[in-house]
Every structure is written in C-alpha cells, then in structure tokens.
C-alpha cells in the first residue's frame, strides 16, 4: 500500500507544483483544501440564514415558499439558494480531496492520529447536513431522499415503528418540517463543533484561505449561480414514486447505491469505509523519533519555540527558580519530533563559544551541537573552485545526491530545524555560498518548516538571518521529493553565479572560533 501511496503522492505533488506556477503557494487550492472547506461552509451558513428567514415550514407551503424565492425573487433568494447549494457541493469535493491528500502525505498515523480520527465523524456530519437540506425543499427529490434514507435506517433495529411509515399518505404533519429545520441547523452546528475538535492539535490552523483564493472561489460560485441557478423538482406527492431525478451526486449518490445493493449492503459499504478510515492509524508505519527536549539552563523563556511549534506541543510555564521568567515545556503527546522549535531557539546559534553547543530546546536525534560539528567538518573537507554548503530536508528532494567534493550536504529532519545563523556561520567558515532547500510551501511534512525558514532567512521572523549576510551567497530552492532535477539545476546555476561573483566579492570576514583555533 505504501508504494501506491508514494506513487499517488508523486502525482499529487506534480499537480501542486503545476498549480503553484499560476496561483502561488498561498493561493494554490490544492495546498489549502481544508481552508477551502471552511470557506464553503461559511458561505453555506451565511446564505442559509436568509433562506431560513424566508422558508415557510408548513407541509403545504414549504415548496411554494422555495419556488417563490427561486423564481419571483431570483435576484436575491434564488441566487442565495444557488450559492447555498453549490457551496455545499464544493464542500464535499474539497473534503474528499482533503482526505485523499492527507492520506497520500501519510498524515494519518503517529502524532497525526488525533486530527485523522476526529476528521472521520465530520464526513458523516457533512453528509447528514447536506442530505437533510434536500428534504427541506420537499420536492420529488426531497421525498425520494427522505424515503430512501428512512429505508436505509430502518434496516437498523432502532425504531419501534419503521421510519418509512412517516412517508405514507396522510401521515406527515407540519411538525415534521419544524423538526427538519431544527436538524438542518443543529447538524451543521454540530459539524462546526466537530471541526473545532478536529483542529485542536494544530496551532494556527489553516481555516481561512488567502484573500485571492477566497475571492476566486466565491466569484466562481456566484457565476455558477447565475449561469445554472438551482431549481426544484415538482412538489412532493406521497402517492407517487419519483421516477427520473436530476440527482445531486455529490451528496445523494448513497441512495442509488442502496437501491443497487441493499440497505444492508450500503451499511456494509459506509460502515466499512468508516472503519477503514479509523483503522488506518493502526497500520504499521515508521516509528516517530524522540521528542524535543528542553535544557533549562539554556532556555531564556523567549517563547519563540512556543510561537513556532506547528502542533502547539510547547507550553510556557513559570520558571521554578527565576520569578517572573518562563520556561518552555514540551507536551510529549503533541510533539511531532520535527525540530522546528530548535530552529527557533536563539540559543541555537553556532557562534556561541562553548565547546559543547547545547541549546534551549533540542532534538536528541539531531542536536544542534552535532549539526555544528558536522557542518564544520564537512566544510573543512571541501575542495574545488566553488564551495557550497547545502542544508536540506529528509522529506523533500534527497540532497545526498548532490554531495561532491565542492558541495557539503547537511540533511536535516526538517528545514525548519535550521537556525538561520548557521547560514552566516557556514559562509564565515569557508563556504562560498549556502543553498537551503526543503519541501515546497504547503508540502512540508510539519506544516510550517518551509514558511518559517523562508521568513527567518528574509528577516521577517525571529530568529532572523543578520542583514549583513550577502544575499548573493544565499540561495533558497524549494524542491519536493520528485523535483531532484530542479534542485540540481538550481545548484548548478548557483555555482555559476558564485563563480562569476569572484572569490572576495561580497564575502563575509572568515571566522575561526577560539575553540578550533586553540585545538586546531
């Protein structure tokens, strides 16, 4: 299964890279499917308020009131109804793509389990919300959906009287529609609660798409509402079977599926799919590495790790010995072992003169001190006309492939682990240039590794790269796993640029730490 997933991921990343070219990472719909889902849900909720106001819930009047604002008041009620319908359809499309994307990226096990598991009930709630909306219209399609749903639930031994008997002639009353309205409001509200739970273990959740993406999708829905306004079928008639239906397959595909199989068959399919989703985190997977460790003597309580952690896995507690100060504490059950916190720690600077570099918060499997040693050793061993230090990411294009006598490669767990001062340190230690690479924005296995690194290097985020570092000697080239050739090409171009730059042009003063000068 993993090879299929990897193949799917490679294809998906190619699509995402293609869309990046036209939308940019921030506006690329593929990279913000969850946020788009929220956006569609907000549109459905907002338009639903108006539709609720004008809806008459009487059994004889509900269809008439909807027909009125669809046709007579098309310029407001009709457009809002279409927006309501198409945003709900859009929600299903992006939700299913979101599930597929997270699966392909492997975000269903390890520390991801919570978001994955809590996402499963939201799928049911989305469908329950949408299907209930069709009943409310009380046209032939609504009647068909109501009866089919009742037949499906009647298979479960939960009703003393079959729910389908509610739809026999003469049984329905106005109270049924009051109940439906209540459910069609209550279930979406429950959905919002479930979504709130779903995003609890990630910080700075992506729930609002960029302005461009939000505007683009809204205009798309608006145009759709004008071009193909939503209309009803004929009024529901309990004595007649709806024969040919213009069905909304986004939501109502379950009904034909049930009539194709059986109510038990549909329960088997729906229950099986749900159980499969719930069981995915239990499948064998790569074991998560050790979690971050705080070193209290080196933690000054600056809160940068707290702010940058993508999973809210760091808490700031009062310092036990220094009144008024805080100390970082790692919450083990939330830590993803990404190392982004170590990259955020100001104590991670390699310019510190201590023999053993110990930072305020560090990763046992790739400590910052060991990274400094490794970098010093690799840069010292470089030869050739142009010496380049490359910092890469295990999850992105494999940087090991570009290592040669003129290129030193430091492979990080996540590029976000890189303290920006390492770039300056590498340049002062003998490298002619530094290339930083990693996953493209939105592909980062740990959400913000790419974004934070980019912001730290450009001076927008603490800890930032000092402005004295010549931009000509730093190159950032994001490349996903399948973009190895792009990385190699970027490295070749960078090498040529450095060659043309000249040995002394825009070069930082060399720096030899005392501990090296002393010991050689």
């Amino acid at each position: 299964m993993d090879s299929i997933r990897q193949g799917g991921l490679a294809l998906l990343q190619r699509i995402e890279s293609f869309f990046d070219a036209f939308f940019g990472a921030a506006g690329n719909p593929w990279r913000h499917l969850g946020a788009l889902g929220f956006h569609f849900l907000w549109i459905a909720l907002a338009t639903g308020i108006y539709l609720f106001i004008v809806l008459d819930t009487g059994i004889e009047d509900v269809h008439t009131s909807i027909e009125y604002y669809t046709h007579e008041q098309w310029w407001l009620g009709g457009i809002l109804r279409s927006l309501h319908r198409y945003s709900a359809d859009g929600l299903v499309v992006v939700m299913l793509l979101h599930i597929l994307r997270e699966f392909l990226y492997g975000r269903f096990h390890g520390f991801h389990w919570y978001s994955w598991i809590t996402g499963v009930p939201t799928v049911w709630l989305v469908y329950a919300s949408g299907i209930g909306g069709y009943w409310l219209v009380w046209d032939q399609l609504g009647l068909f959906s109501a009866v089919a749903s009742a037949e499906w639930f009647d298979w479960l031994p939960i009703f003393s009287t079959p729910a389908t008997r509610n739809f026999l002639p003469g049984v329905l009353t106005d109270r049924f529609f009051s109940l439906l309205v209540f459910l069609h409001i209550g279930i979406p509200l429950t959905l919002m609660l479930a979504l709130w739970v779903h995003i609890q273990r990630i910080s700075q959740a992506d729930v609002f798409p960029s302005r461009a993406l939000a505007l683009g999708t809204f205009v798309m829905l608006l145009v759709l509402a004008f071009v193909k306004p939503t209309v009803s079928h004929g009024k529901a008639d309990l004595s007649v079977v709806p024969t040919v239906l213009h069905i909304d397959w986004h939501y109502l595909f379950i009904h034909p599926l049930m009539y194709l199989t059986s109510p038990a068959g549909l329960w088997l399919i729906a229950g099986g799919a749900t159980l499969l989703l719930l069981a995915l985190p239990l499948l064998p997977h790569k074991k998560q590495g050790p979690i971050a460790v705080v070193n209290p003597p080196n933690c000054n309580g600056c809160r940068r790790c707290f702010v940058d952690c993508p999973y809210g896995a760091i808490a700031m507690l009062p310092h036990p010995d220094k009144p008024g100060h805080e100390l970082a504490r790692v919450l083990p059950e939330l830590c993803a072992s990404c190392g982004i916190c170590a990259g955020a720690c100001p104590s991670s600077t390699p310019f510190r003169s201590v023999e053993q570099l110990v930072t305020g918060i560090d990763m046992p499997q790739q400590p910052v001190g060991a990274l400094r040693q490794d970098m010093e050793r690799r840069i010292a061993a470089l030869s050739g006309p142009v010496k380049i230090a490359v910092f890469g990411c295990e999850c992105a294009a494999r940087v090991g492939a570009v290592e040669d006598q003129g290129t030193a490669v430091m492979n990080l767990m996540c590029t976000g682990l890189l303290p920006p001062s390492f770039v300056e340190y590498a340049l002062r230690s003998g490298a002619d240039g530094v290339l930083v690479t990693g996953c493209r924005e939105g592909s980062c296995a740990y959400r913000f590794g790419t974004q934070w690194t980019e912001q730290r290097l450009s001076g927008e985020r603490e800890p930032h790269l000092r402005p004295g570092v010549p931009a000509e000697r730093l190159r950032v080239a994001w490349a996903d796993r399948h973009e190895m050739s792009d990385l190699k090409a970027a490295l070749d171009v960078f090498r040529e640029n450095l060659k043309n730059l000249g040995a002394d042009e825009m070069r930082l003063r060399p720096y030899t730490p005392r501990r090296i000068a002393k010991h050689g």
């Binding site: 070219a21 036209f22 939308f23 859009g90 068909f144 079959p162 004595s239 007649v240 034909p256």
Partner: protein, 172 residues
C-alpha cells in the same frame, strides 16, 4: 517560470480556466446524470404495517386463592399473557406469490407491535392483489384476508396496511 503576478494575463487566464473547471465539476454532478428510480411503466406496492397481534394465550380468571395472595390493589380478576402473536403475512399478485413472511412483536417481552416494510416494483396496470394475515398464534389459518382487483397507474404507490380501526387489511 511563469510570473505569479495576479496582473499577468497568462496567470489570470489560467486561474479563470481552473476556477471554471472546478465550477463545471460542481455543476455537472449536482444534477447529472439523471437517475431513473422507477421505469415509466412500473408502479410500486408498499407492504407496511405496525400492528399489535393478539396475545399468544387465552385470558383466564384468577382463583380466589390466587387473588388472596396478591396485594389488595393488585387483585385483578382477569389475567392475560403479555406476549403478542407474530403477524404472518402472505401476498399474492395475480395468483403468483409476491411475499410471504412473519413480523415478530417488538420488545424484550415480545409485547410490542409487529412492524413490517417491504417495497415491490410491479408493472403498471390491472392486478389481482390477495393479502392474507394471521395475527393470532392460537389460530392456524389466516384470519385476516383481503383480495381486490386494482388498477395501478405508472409511478403510483399502493400501500397495503392493516389497522383494527380500518377493519383489518386495507389498500391505500
């Protein structure tokens, strides 16, 4: 590399194209393809009831000794078994068997209503519908019977139900 500036005509055209494609996907599957739930020349018969069967045994009078053993407020002379009979059903259409089954009473003590729901797609037109039920386990034969010639229009639903206040089995 394409300039990602939103004013770049190529970017604008590409974005419009992608949004258009997304809209087409949403629009198409929101109404297409049509779903044929029932062919135009077919009708539907629904067999549906929620009906309490008769008690499984006879009621009897308590003896004076039995009554004396009970608390004064519990001394009801007649006692009946709590359990209800299952409803046996047999439906024939034009002399051919359409359904035969039994609906057990609901509840842990089997004292609830027997319920059943089945749907049968049949050709529209004239049919002889024969429905037989037994709601009393103490009787071997069917004690509720209705046979009627009906004409079903295309797409029409005919419900077969049974209620005491409707005089037993009825078609609607």
């Amino acid at each position: 590399m394409v300039s990602k500036s939103p004013t770049n005509p190529l970017v604008m055209a590409a974005q419009a194209l992608f949004y258009g494609l997304f809209a087409v996907i949403i629009a198409i599957f929101s109404t297409w393809p049509d779903y044929v739930h029932l062919d135009g020349d077919r009708s539907l018969i629904k067999l549906s009831f929620s009906y309490h069967g008769e008690p499984v045994g006879e009621c009897r009078e308590r003896s004076p000794e039995e009554l004396a053993k009970l608390a004064p407020n519990m001394r009801v002379a007649k006692v009946c078994p709590r359990e209800r009979s299952p409803i046996r059903v047999k439906v024939d259409l034009d002399g051919q068997p359409l359904f035969e089954g039994s609906a057990p009473p609901a509840g842990l003590s089997k004292d609830g209503a027997s319920t059943l729901y089945r749907r049968f797609e049949v050709p529209a037109g004239e049919h002889l519908v024969s429905v037989k039920m037994n709601d009393n386990a103490r009787i071997a034969d069917f004690n509720l019977v209705r046979e009627e010639k009906v004409t079903l229009k295309p797409a029409q639903i005919m419900v077969i139900d049974v209620r005491k206040d409707h005089g037993g089995i009825f078609f609607e």
